[in-house]
Point group: D2
């Protein structure tokens, strides 16, 4: 046969599960979008159509709902670890499971009295998690746990310059000493794990706390960095997370430069002293980089936009 | 000629203007998406292509930027009133101007020290405004000022029932005494105006305060209503706004019923006591209604999804 | 009570039904997205939550599937007529039904042999239909049947000028004698009906043929009009449809002016003789108008973007 | 310093260029969306904000427009090769350039007479290309040329079965001997290159012809495969491309299983002999695999959704 099968994976994508936990009149919710990708000894189904080793994607979806009931959802990371372990240990043909989760945050609507079952969606930023578990054969089990966020839109209205760059035949951009710097933060960080996915320092609340702290570092570094380039701001954001978080060794950031162009008001006899801007959609600069703890090995995928 | 020209309008849609106001080290921003529609004596341009009465859409875009500089943006409503008046009074051929604005909210990123130029986008809910000004000829000027919001996603995890409905041959839905009620609030309310658009009780801050109060009423009524139908909840939301706000006579609500179906866990030997739900995308129920102050005349468009 | 209920409607939106008809080895498909809005005597459900007059939206969804089986889908228009009549005549509380349908077109994939069950989606243009049936009480039944399309993107690379327009203080646009004219055609036309919705000249195939002829007129008029303004092109498109189609009395067109700006290559020592363009997203001009047969009364909604 | 910089790249994303070529009254157009990512010796800009080695992303955008003028756009692949070579050979600091292009296809609108400057967008399928050029240092230059498509939606209304799969505790899916098989083909194939990017068999028209042939193989294999699993269909599609095209050694396919569920009409006393389906949005199965020529080494990225 002149062709062979390469890397392959399958599973159910975008299962939307909402888990309600009732603590008397006070309810708690977790709202997730779960995507499962399984891989292993799957030559037969590709070559002959035999499904003898195939757990249906419908079953992987059912498992999400059943596990939400049986085990609850303490956090996206913990839920993903549980699912990954289940598929790899439960199916002989499956060697690797990758669980990607988007989580949508809700705030409580304040109400009089003791209740607490009313919520409002928090906004556009989406929290993400990705757990990959490889049974590893003789090499032993390998876990990778990534957390992240996407769609966190931020802006500095000053303290950003851009000058001193290379000029070639096609360069027309004027240098600037004061511009708007705006971006949509897409980030993915890798947790240090020395045991299996479920172990480590993080307990039930640990993943949520670490997420909030990491998000806070990203915002603070963005706001507090006097920027000579978006790359510099990116590096400041990434290194602050690494330096402040012993359990995180690597972070990947993808920062579209959301250009705000000064409106040209001179034809109307008006100055524009950095007051009126046109917010452009496309094209946009795209600045991407990984920041690592010294000595760590990079493992976060280079292209973030498909996480999860 | 067997054909005639009916209603027509033109203008520049979706001009994205960001206005920065500098108060020493503290900056303030307004972030708008402005769409302009002008109409009037425009037969010639349709029938012969003569542009002699046509102010280019490019000019209407320029006017947005110039006005942002010259007058600032105290609020979306006030800015829309100013633009509407300008086009109708400044161009003989223009009899009516309709200005639609989406506004995106930003929160401050807290930083040490006295500064304040760092912001984070608040979320998915979008504030809207629509001002229509008709010069009116002999009938005199007419103003209509609408405010609203879209994309405010809310959920009650209990205190919602649905039963006692009509059953016909095609009815299979089981009745329920406890369900999730979730929707995305799209709302548009009409302000009472007895003078021109720029007058009235609202000053620079008035429109923002009224918006926040109205949003609060919508959330509170959603959370506090024990619901027998989404229509009942809708009416409670709308009537609360009218009753609590003397300056608002009418509100239109469009509430998609974002269905959350109980996952069927019985095949796995598990109960599901309103704990695990599947959040469905389509189809969805769509509940729409206008609530009016007794004696008021309806004027808000029936279809909200195109506002602005 | 200080508040009253105004216009209201409810139903299931976006039911995605695919109907396969098997003609031996040759299959035919219809792929629809159906949205139902019912209105009538619905005060109780809003005021007290009583569902005694409410047919569940779930039932309206079931009806779509059941009717697809029982009656087939000869065309979107015919299917919508049938659904509208069913809800209005079958439910005492329902006085008006509005059925909106999007239809997605598929082409056959050519295969050897006699079969014919493989298809490829045709593209971005979506065919639309909207049928409104009002039982009318003493005034008698009223039907309105609209057909349309959205997302038909077209471009002329020459034979478009724009000059001779009004200049005010904010005008900077240079006049041009040769530009790209590109738009996304969104159109909705109203059929003359002298009987009930199901009657008239159109049979099973009639609606499809009329759609294809109307689409052809729109494309031909766009391509063959030497344009001095997009309004002129719009009117040429609309009047051609009316003049060529006795059964259509009115058409509404919404044409975003998809700007293609000449790239400025002078800084690089290059001419740009209408060869290289930047295709902009926002803002865009938006040109909208109704064209009517002389003597007809306008009835198509002014805002098309919400159809359906 | 405890942190170090890992993989990084930057450039302008989504530059929308339209190129018109005038052949007397007949015009030809190319409509591209170009994204550029450059990488190399970029430590300084991240660590200190020095832009001394940074060619602005604005310049990379300008280069797209200038090259469209100077060299025309014979094909997306050829244009990407030219851009990649320019950035790597022209900037000492740049070691690698990755050019991603989406191309939108247009058909001619037929008109009487000799002209030909009117076009209609063909549809939803988007053609893609990605060229990566690495100067390689001592190892010598390396080129990778990928072509692909996304959004090609296809459906077989029969000749698809699914049974014989693994059942575990969470399996509820009934086996089926006749179902709809529908998917959206996302594909990326790698061209064999033994010289630099600009060489090889493909001339000006070669890339377009190869694209059409490859697309045709994908459609034919989808239509002609009697399917026992979507994996089997995927492999048939991929191996057909490899077997029929000596210049292609590898193809990656990402096929969402767009589920069409039989509507349950039994409650209404109706059969549903594979006639009426509900087209679901989410969740969906996602089947992904690489097919290789025997002996070839896989190089196409596993995650296609970010190409380009």
């Amino acid at each position: 046969m002149p062709t062979v099968l390469g890397q392959n994976q399958y599973g159910k994508a975008e299962t939307r599960v909402v888990r309600v936990t009732r603590d008397g009149p006070v309810h708690h919710i977790r709202d997730l979008n779960v995507s499962i990708a399984l891989s292993g000894a799957m030559d037969d189904v590709h070559l002959s159509g035999s499904n003898a080793r195939v757990l249906p994607t419908d079953t992987t979806k059912n498992t999400v709902f059943a596990f939400a009931k049986e085990h609850g959802i303490a956090s996206a990371e913990e839920f993903a670890v549980r699912l990954a372990r289940h598929f790899v240990t439960g199916q002989e043909a499956i060697g690797t499971a990758r669980i990607r989760i988007e989580e949508y945050a809700w705030d409580r609507i304040p109400v009089p009295g003791p209740g607490g079952h009313s919520f409002v969606r928090r906004g556009r930023e989406t929290r993400t998690a990705q757990v990959t578990f490889d049974s590893g054969g003789a090499a032993g089990e390998r876990w990778q746990i990534l957390s992240g966020l996407k769609g966190l839109v931020v802006m500095n209205t000053t303290d950003s310059e851009f000058h001193g760059y290379v000029k070639d035949r096609y360069t027309t951009l004027p240098e600037t000493r004061d511009r708007i710097l705006a971006t949509e933060v897409n980030a993915c960080w890798r947790h240090v794990r020395d045991g299996e996915g479920g172990g480590g320092e993080e307990g039930k609340a640990g993943w949520d706390e670490r997420y909030e702290r990491t998000r806070g570092h990203l915002l603070a570094a963005f706001a507090e960095t006097y920027s000579l380039s978006l790359q510099q701001t990116l590096y400041a954001m990434g290194s602050r997370v690494i330096e402040q978080t012993p359990g995180i060794d690597e972070i990947r950031l993808s920062l579209p430069n959301k250009h705000h162009f000064l409106a040209d008001l001179r034809p109307f006899g008006l100055d524009n002293d950095n007051e009126v801007y046109f917010a452009a959609d496309r094209p946009y600069g795209l600045i991407e980089a990984t920041v690592l703890r010294d000595g760590a090995t990079a493992a976060v995928p280079v292209d973030l936009t498909n996480l999860p």
